[in-house]
Assembly symmetry: C2
């Protein structure tokens, strides 16, 4: 068992049967609620249940997928809690990926003005990304996480065993955040990662822990995202817009797949605005395209991408805000550029895809 | 101008033209948003506008009334903010009574994970009650304020001039909270209040300030409502249930009218459970009935009242939680009782009504 202590809670990494009972014993609660989707209900709930030592719980199920991370699903969760006569001293366990963690946390954090919750991320993405930072929320009007709040869980339980329930595509999606953490804060780790050509047979705990430590360091220095925490948004201004529009199509992208596109385009912006070495840009693009493939972004949607970027939370006033890198392993936040340059960066990505 | 300083913000009491400009000058914001209902738009917005020194703002209107303090209205507010491309560094002014303050604050506090807001309460109730404590929220499934959060405004602007826009019935409703503050914390003030037989020609500033100071004292000693802050719930366990059911009828009660009923019934409980002098109970009942009239609570709805009480946020586990008084001027929190005694307290109220 490994423990990463943050200011107000801990991330406990290891087999859940060995970690969860100790965490629960430290808390007093009147009722246990478990929030799942149909996938985690089938694949992850049995493992969780075996760690509950026979305690009863109220199960709340929501449909899986980013398209259900919305106010309607919240209403369903709140209704179920109301019907279970959940009181403020209950405890919610969010068992699932980012959608369950973000939305279940938001519902808990707002039910009767705040019920405590524990995050049990079951995807690689949520284990390395969503488990630190206390960001909760849902999507609204196609804008990701546009309604939400900052609130910390009581604890985060990370068990790499859950990753065995994922498809390779989902694992790859989560891996994009591990790559991002290296690009914004750890050039050596970036060198190391490029040696992984496949994601099978990896000891994930060894990659998750350094990635969590990078995120911990950044978030603890800026809990409310006023400055350096924005470094984590590298690849996300363009990535979120690409993800948002893809959601509307019959071929939605996973978060990490969209962020990979965002990181390629924003590496190009880093070159144009900050002078990031073009060879580094090419290395980043090559590795990401090899890992994620390339999907051409239709020219006629550029305006829609830019309009979604304008509504990004990270903006101040009317400017579109970017977090870029220069050199590799170091982030430079609060960069802005005109829409012409954004278009060029999308063209740059598209050209590489078509090679 | 009078200023009450709380830990993290100030309540500024006086003519808004003299108070608001100074408050706004201290804040940096990219956009000003004003949330109103149709009443405050007509009666209060002109006065606010005259204090904005020509600054432009985005106006968002929601229908007035507790029945619109719901997730649908929130979606409307969020949509308007999204369409106005509101960024996280905007500033929201909530111009209205408790509904606008609670719901506008909740929408601001969750939009892009938190936009700052200023409360400009325009009813007596919200001036003495909602302006301290950072409680935000909406009603859900008939349960008042069951979805929400704790978050402080940047400032509260109290201008008694707004009270001139209210009906006498609304003023009387707010007065119930002034009475409550005296009953839980200031026996002398209670003596004084009983001398007011009518609510016309009152210098409200003189009654608002002591009432705010009582609430400040209580809330600052218990910001998250773990203990003594529950004193403020006197009259509210039964009052909220009465208010909740009345909302469903063609004769909804104003908040203070329901709380007056709650204070009578809960004074009776204070007598039964804590030995509050029955003469005091009768004095409280007499003054409240004289001020608010008496509306008989149908026997056949007792079960519904009790079932609503069971879903009250204040409960822990399965018990219905009451904040009672003994003696007058002192609160005793975390009292519970069986449903038989609750029925008796409703009978007690009903019998007095019918005298």
């Amino acid at each position: 068992m490994e423990i990463i202590n943050l200011h107000s809670y801990s991330i406990v990494i290891g087999a859940i049967q060995e970690t969860l009972p100790g965490v629960l014993h430290q808390l007093d609660y009147s009722q246990l609620i478990v929030i799942v989707d149909e996938n985690t209900k089938m694949h992850c709930l049995p493992l969780l249940e075996s760690s509950l030592e026979g305690q009863s719980y109220v199960l709340i199920e929501v449909p899986s997928g980013e398209q259900h991370k919305n106010i309607q699903s919240c209403q369903h969760i709140w209704q179920e809690m109301m019907q279970a006569q959940t009181s403020r001293d209950a405890l919610v366990l969010n068992l699932g990926g980012g959608v369950i963690g973000d939305m279940g946390g938001f519902c808990a954090g707002t039910f009767k003005r705040g019920v405590r919750f524990i995050q049990i991320p079951t995807t690689l993405l949520s284990q390395v990304d969503a488990s630190i930072g206390g960001k909760l929320g849902i999507d609204f009007m196609q804008v990701k996480n546009s309604i939400g709040l900052f609130q910390n869980p009581q604890a985060v339980i990370v068990d790499p065993a859950f990753l065995q329930t994922l498809s390779l595509r989902e694992v790859r999606s989560g891996y994009a955040e591990i790559i991002k953490h290296s690009l914004i804060a750890d050039a050596e780790q970036w060198q190391l990662l490029q040696q992984y050509e496949s994601l099978e047979n990896i000891n994930w705990q060894e990659l998750i822990i350094p990635s969590l430590l990078i995120k911990k360091h950044i978030v603890e220095n800026d809990p409310k995202e006023k400055g350096i925490r924005k470094a984590l948004n590298f690849g996300h201004t363009i990535g979120h817009a690409v993800e948002g529009l893809a959601l509307e199509t019959s071929h939605p992208l996973l978060h990490g797949e969209a962020i990979a596109i965002g990181m390629i385009s924003e590496s190009f912006l880093s070159h144009q605005i900050l002078g990031l070495d073009i060879q580094d840009v090419r290395r980043i693009a090559r590795y990401l395209l090899q890992m994620y493939g390339g999907q051409v972004l239709p020219n006629e949607q550029y305006d829609d991408y830019i309009s979604l970027m304008r509504n990004d939370k990270k903006n101040e006033g009317n400017q579109i805000n970017f977090s870029l890198i220069q050199p590799v392993g170091q982030a430079v936040v609060n960069q802005t550029c005109n829409s012409g340059l954004i278009r060029e960066s999308l063209d740059f990505y598209n050209e590489l895809c078509q090679l």
